[in-house]
């Protein structure tokens, strides 16, 4: 017979766990299965093809472009937004004139829907009369089609993502900075340690758990945040801004090739899984928790 506590506990967790499994674990499993079958077309049922979809993906140049774009996007947005977030937190943690205003300014992008600000950024990037071309014009620069040029389209997407995320991460750094015992700073002042030395040897190590938390979020967002791509470039020009999740969306819901979309999703899931394992396995060991 089951212990009373056991069935009580299961009764408490079951509603949440059932929903969670039904819409996270179950779709992950069906996606893996779908990736082994063809896309059903009309009356033709899906047919088992083994790893054929993966072979097709391997031969798909757009997939490699998306993968490369996503790597660039991740390697640019993650460090940039995390470092900026730390700088912002350090800035508003001091007695800065107009501190509440500055803090609010940093944080506003977090509150705005990406889809809405994408519209505004779209205007900033407009050739000739957009903000960037106007600034360049002051310095004698010419007309530039920021989103239409394959060389600048992805950097533009990266800029928008960094702008959107930095303030959000700042909050976590700020929380950690304010939780730090002030006597550390006092002791270091008495010892005559330089600010840089104190930052490097005391602040930064104490911020490691926060950094890990922020990094995990930044990594997830580097693969999840594609709203602005949908609005601003549709993955163009010539797939220069196609990211993995955007390609999944395009494949699954514009071309309606669900089998290939499922195959792509499996690749993305494997990537996220590996990154999670790396972060917690390797980085996690080097972090000192309280």
């Amino acid at each position: 017979m089951l212990k009373r506590e056991t069935w009580q506990a299961w009764a408490l967790i079951l509603p949440a766990v059932i929903l969670l499994v039904a819409f996270t674990h179950w779709p992950a499993i069906t996606t893996v299965l779908d990736s082994l079958y063809t896309t059903p077309k009309g009356s033709r049922p899906p047919r088992f093809v083994g790893l054929d979809n993966y072979a097709a993906l391997w031969d798909d140049p757009v997939f490699w472009t998306a993968l490369r774009n996503n790597a660039v996007y991740a390697f640019a947005t993650i460090p940039a937004s995390v470092v900026l977030a730390l700088l912002m937190a350090l800035a508003v943690n001091t007695a800065l004139p107009g501190r509440p205003l500055v803090r609010m300014a940093y944080f506003t992008p977090t509150m705005l829907p990406m889809i809405a600000v994408a519209n505004i950024w779209l205007f900033f990037f407009t050739p000739d009369y957009g903000l960037f071309d106007r600034i360049l014009a002051v310095f004698g620069g010419g007309r530039h089609n920021w989103l239409g040029d394959a060389a600048t389209a992805l950097p533009s997407m990266i800029a928008v993502a960094v702008w959107k995320e930095a303030g959000f991460f700042m909050i976590f750094y700020l929380a950690a900075l304010q939780a730090m015992p002030p006597d550390l700073q006092e002791a270091s002042n008495l010892e005559g340690a330089s600010r840089w030395y104190f930052f490097r040897r005391v602040t930064l190590p104490l911020l490691m758990p926060t950094t890990l938390f922020v990094l995990v979020n930044a990594v997830i967002n580097a693969f999840r945040l594609v709203d602005h791509v949908v609005v601003m470039t549709h993955g163009g020009p010539n797939n220069a801004t196609t990211l993995l999740l955007y390609y999944i969306y395009e494949m699954g819901f514009r071309f309606w090739d669900t089998a290939m979309a499922a195959t792509l999703t499996v690749v993305l899931l494997a990537l996220l899984g590996t990154l999670a394992w790396l972060q917690f396995g390797v980085l996690g060991k080097r972090v000192h928790y309280r």
């Binding site: 506990a9 499994v21 800035a91 107009g98 205003l101 505004i120 900033f124 499922a262 999670a276």
Partner: protein, 269 residues
């Protein structure tokens, strides 16, 4: 020397702040002026609300507002109701399978429903729920983030309080409701704010799963509106953009302190 460095730092912080609010400032400027001033800055330009009127009439924004409100409240209420007991069980009860199940729950922190568009769309099609507000909400109702956050705070509740309530004859749910939930209030506020802003702003999944005016949330409505109807009328687009973001932005401005503080409290422990 020290003062010079400090001034430079302050200047840098302010410049960064300016860059960070620039898109919002621009949107406010354009939305409240006639289209002629969209690219032409003149402090004496007359203010107008016409852009908001035009935007409001050009698309069913009232309906979109209603849809988003229903969606966000539905998610928030169900998340609270489901995550609370689950978090309590994970925090304070011993049962076989607890750690395995908790590990499975945490998996969702890394593999969020946002990337499972294809699989979830399939499930919704099988359930006959495509193009419904419930379908937008369903993947987010069992929230690992919520369970994790509440579990952390429940674990910090002193065991003596629990024992005292038990001695007074409180049932399991009674203790949860009268001891744990009140003590976790700041966490609920923080989680609520995160949940509301996340789902108010969420876009890709609602875009995929909805295809009619009666179900579309604001974000999808705005995207449809800005891409098809308007071409390049920046005044109307920025007006509708501001309308879409306004409720969250106003709430944030009003409760800024609380927001930031509760965020910090809930941040990481």
């Amino acid at each position: 020397m020290k003062i010079a460095t400090r001034s430079l730092e302050i200047l840098g912080a302010w410049m960064l702040a300016l860059i960070w609010v620039l898109p919002l400032l621009y949107a406010v400027w354009t939305a409240f002026h006639a289209p002629a001033y969209a690219t032409h800055f003149d402090l004496t330009a007359p203010l107008t609300l016409q852009n908001f009127v035009n935007a409001w009439e050009a698309a069913p924004f009232a309906r979109y507002f209603l849809n988003t409100t229903i969606l966000v409240s539905l998610i928030l209420v169900v998340q609270f109701v489901l995550c609370t007991p689950a978090a309590f069980a994970f925090a304070r009860m011993n049962f076989p399978g607890r750690d395995v199940v908790f590990g499975l729950v945490l998996l969702q922190l890394m593999i969020m429903p946002d990337v499972l568009l294809v699989g979830n769309y399939r499930s919704m099609a099988q359930l006959g729920l495509v193009d419904s507000i419930l379908a937008i909400a369903l993947p987010y109702l069992g929230s690992a983030f919520g369970i994790f956050l509440l579990r952390q705070i429940f674990r910090s509740v002193p065991q003596e309080l629990d024992d005292a309530a038990r001695l007074e004859g409180s049932s399991l749910l009674g203790r949860l409701w009268r001891v744990y939930v009140p003590l976790a209030r700041p966490t609920y506020i923080a989680y609520g704010l995160v949940s509301i802003s996340y789902h108010w702003n969420n876009f890709l999944w609602p875009l995929v799963i909805t295809n009619s005016v009666s179900t579309r949330p604001l974000t999808v409505g705005l995207a449809v509106f800005a891409s098809t109807d308007q071409g390049i009328d920046w005044s109307i687009i920025t007006a509708s953009t501001l309308m879409t973001s306004a409720p969250l932005l106003v709430a944030f401005l009003l409760f800024q302190r609380q927001f930031v503080q509760s965020f910090m409290r809930a941040g990481i422990r």
